[in-house]
């Protein structure tokens, strides 16, 4: 198993290299640059800036420089927030995004999972229809609708929580973003869980368990749920990578200092280094979580062996 993990991490290196290369040149293809402004910068100043950041060198040279820096763990300075390096920005923002994202993911897995199991056990009965209806609504109503409704109800009208502030990450401030982020995920997990649980409950070995007079608890939890978890595990991997790297909508609406907004803002501002930094971070998260998914698969299902 260890050898497998090691091998997978090794293959991540060429993957990352390809991602870095493609995105490096893609963002350069987009017209404009980090120092283009509406009113136009004094050409002398602009040339100075370009020289300072090495943007006056030929593109391939810039690329090699970037790779070299990257190999030394240096993501470079941010062009638009010149007081910070990209690394510093992530050091501040990433823990915030991870905190909110992890809470939302755990919430989604627990609540969505339970709802899905209940729906499967009450298939085609009232409880099932209620879960499906809620889940469908939950996954169709966009975040930017849910968030303002939450703010209107709980902050403005009831005055239970602040409208949008982070502070030092006090629990009250976090409820809004976590719930908003979790709701669509709850809906997705509930639907996935319901489907795979229904399928698991129909399988032949469940019939065997019932014929042997085993308890409902053993049938549902030990024999049905474990197999039914596999689709959830495969969904949760990429979902975790997406949630933990922040959401621009949620972070903007709730004024959270996370990294989700960097991606869009940096791309719009041609903040090359910040775009690249975000790409690398998201790619790393995706690779690592996919690896975790594959390891969990082997834990849940003894037929899966990697050696």
């Amino acid at each position: 198993m260890l050898r497998y993990v090691f091998r997978r991490l090794l293959t991540a290196i060429p993957t990352l290299f390809v991602i870095v290369t493609i995105s490096f040149f893609l963002i350069r293809v987009a017209p404009g640059g980090p120092f283009n402004q509406e009113r136009g910068l004094n050409p002398f100043i602009k040339a100075n800036l370009n020289r300072q950041f090495g943007l006056d060198e030929p593109l391939w040279m810039q690329y090699l420089n970037y790779l070299n820096n990257l190999l030394h763990g240096n993501f470079g300075p941010s062009y638009n927030l010149p007081d910070f390096t990209v690394t510093e920005l992530f050091k501040v923002g990433l823990p915030v995004s991870i905190q909110v994202g992890t809470s939302a993911l755990i919430l989604a897995l627990i609540i969505g999972g339970i709802l899905g199991i209940v729906a499967a056990l009450r298939q085609n009965k009232a409880a099932d229809y209620a879960v499906i209806a809620t889940a469908t609504a939950g996954s169709t109503i966009p975040t930017f609708v849910i968030a303002p409704i939450y703010q209107l109800t709980f902050a403005t009208t009831l005055a239970l929580v602040p409208v949008a502030t982070w502070g030092n990450g006090a629990l009250l401030n976090k409820i809004g973003p976590i719930v908003t982020l979790a709701l669509p995920q709850i809906a997705i997990v509930a639907r996935l869980m319901r489907g795979s649980m229904i399928e698991a409950l129909r399988s032949h070995h469940i019939r065997t368990a019932r014929a042997l007079g085993l308890s409902d608890w053993s049938i549902i939890v030990k024999h049905a749920l474990r197999g039914a978890l596999l689709p959830i595990v495969s969904y949760a991997g990429p979902a975790a990578a997406a949630l933990l790297t922040g959401s621009i909508i949620v972070e903007t609406i709730f004024q959270i200092p996370g990294v989700g907004r960097y991606f869009v803002e940096a791309a719009l501002n041609r903040d090359y280094t910040l775009v690249m930094g975000t790409v690398v971070v998201i790619a790393l998260f995706t690779i690592v979580f996919n690896l975790i998914v594959d390891i969990l698969y082997a834990v849940v299902d003894p037929r899966v062996r990697y050696d």
Partner: protein, 523 residues
């Protein structure tokens, strides 16, 4: 052995299913009695409700099923017990095994874990004692190395061994009544015989009653004290079942008939272990230097136990698997053709699989399934022409073309196999590989499919490669037979040579297992 005490009595049992098309009556007022120590067989073709009767008794019906009447176990009506009371009976007093040994065990837990669970639940004993009991049960069902096998997962065991584990789980709590729903149908002939012997032996030793559901009258003769026949009433139906053994034989094709498909010195090797960093690769020779010559209009039967390489050989001949050796089809060498170059030949080389359910996409209608190949191979024809061809193919395989818009699950097993055959012949193939096309069907339906295949062969001068472990069917279909074992061909010849004068021990053993009761009956 049997006493007068009735332990199970079924009275006026009805089973209904609420489906989208309305209510379907699966069992209509069955009466049945089983005495202590007695073995009762229930026979009938598929759809006669014999399995559903047992499922209803065990309260294992699908959620849209409903059972009325009484199923009394020692006076207690199983249909009205509370769940807690019911679970004191199920697995303790009455147990059941099923016809799907491959999927009836939980794939995620070890054999030991699954064996210990019902023992601990019903006998109120600790893990250590349950473990000892479990090992004892594995010994009783003659699983070799039981201590080691406790740690095995189901996927590490063969179908026969999995069914033995199922039996071990069923008898672990010393039940009164053992229900067996076609326990050997899905297994190889030699394994079937072993399982049946084991069950007969256990029944004697443990003194339990047994209800044995089957469509095989050989089994009935061997094992049952009494027979219930479901459907048209006892006597005429019993006759029909006996007569349903596939009969007839095929005349050999003339020596001068041109060759359609030939493989020379075929070898197929699978890598089963090792890899980039995992050390020396290990290879398995699935097919080892086998040559086949299939002439126009000929049927070659390939027989052998599962794992002997029958299907692998056929797939390699159709270039569905990479292989070594030369393949000759309709006058040209095809072993070196790439997939692109193979494509125009594909329509002439068709294959029909064993499991008619698994090989038909559940999301397409029967009509779509049958015409899918036309879309690929003859994309230029109009949709009306396609529809006409589909209707023709449906008629040809004996299906009502009006049912084209139904989905596979709305057809019976035999009808599904007809759909699979229609899908192959609509392309007007020259060679059809039939990979256990009748194994999942019961005898009466088998016979119909065999006759259909024969008619189609005559009408279109088809060449068949017929793979089966059912020797009665092979004997009725093939004019040349190859016997395979461990990837090698051990014997070949005409059906008369192979069936009546087999040379190899292996062939003799296959024959003995398949026709044991014929031998007994004639002796």
């Amino acid at each position: 052995m049997a006493s007068d005490e009735t332990i199970l009595s079924v009275e006026g049992l009805h089973v209904r299913f609420h489906t989208l098309d309305g209510i379907v009556d699966a069992v209509k007022g069955i009466n049945m009695h089983v005495k202590a120590g007695e073995t009762v067989a229930v026979v009938g073709e598929s759809g006669s409700g014999k399995s559903q009767t047992m499922m209803a008794a065990m309260r294992l019906l699908a959620s849209n099923g409903e059972a009325t009447g009484t199923v009394a176990y020692r006076g207690a009506n199983l249909l009205t017990l509370t769940k807690a009371e019911l679970n004191e009976v199920r697995g303790r007093k009455i147990t059941m095994i099923f016809q799907e040994p491959m999927t009836s065990l939980d794939p995620l837990y070890t054999i030991g874990n699954q064996l210990m669970e019902p023992i601990m639940r019903h006998r109120n004993v600790g893990a250590e004692e349950a473990r000892r009991e479990a090992i004892k049960m594995l010994k009783l069902v003659r699983i070799p190395e039981p201590e080691r096998r406790m740690k095995s997962y189901p996927y590490e065991m063969s179908g026969g061994h999995r069914q033995r584990v199922m039996i071990a789980m069923a008898i672990a709590n010393d039940p009164d009544l053992f229900l067996a729903d076609e326990p050997s149908t899905a297994l190889d002939v030699t394994i079937q015989a072993e399982i049946l012997n084991l069950m007969a032996d256990l029944r004697k030793r443990l003194g339990m009653s047994m209800i044995f559901i089957t469509h095989d009258l050989n089994i009935v003769k061997r094992i049952a004290d009494r027979v219930y026949v479901m459907r048209l009433g006892e006597h005429p139906y019993t006759k029909a079942l006996l007569a349903a053994e596939p009969t007839g034989h095929k005349d050999p094709v003339p020596k001068t008939t041109p060759t359609m498909l030939a493989g020379t010195d075929m070898r197929v090797t699978f890598k089963v272990g090792g890899g980039l960093l995992a050390g020396e690769p290990i290879y398995l020779k699935a097919v080892d230097r086998v040559s086949v010559t299939l002439k126009r209009g000929q049927t070659i039967g390939i027989v052998g136990e599962s794992g002997s390489g029958k299907s692998t050989l056929a797939r390699a001949l159709l270039k569905l698997l990479p292989s070594e050796g030369s393949i000759h089809f309709d006058g040209r060498h095809i072993e070196k053709l790439d997939p692109q170059a193979m494509r125009p030949l594909r329509k002439q080389l068709q294959i029909v699989f064993q499991d008619p359910f698994g090989s038909l996409s559940p999301r397409l209608t029967a009509g779509q399934i049958v015409t899918e190949g036309l879309l690929v191979h003859e994309p230029s024809i109009s949709s009306r022409e396609r529809d006409r061809r589909a209707a023709q193919a449906f008629t040809e395989v004996g299906l009502d073309p009006a049912n084209r818009n139904r989905y596979p699950h709305e057809f019976s097993g035999g009808q599904r196999q007809r759909i699979a055959i229609a899908r192959a012949i609509i392309l007007k193939p020259k060679v059809v590989v039939l990979d256990e096309p009748t194994s999942a069907l019961d005898r009466q339906v088998q016979k119909q499919i065999v006759e259909l295949l024969r008619d189609l062969q005559k009408a279109h001068n088809l060449s068949y490669l017929f793979i089966s472990h059912d020797l009665a069917v092979v004997r009725a279909m093939a004019d040349h037979i190859m016997v395979m074992k461990d990837g090698r061909m051990v014997e070949q010849g005409s059906p008369e040579q192979i069936f009546d004068h087999p040379h190899e021990d292996y062939t003799k053993r296959l024959m003995a297992a398949a026709f044991v009761d014929h031998a007994e009956a004639s002796a």
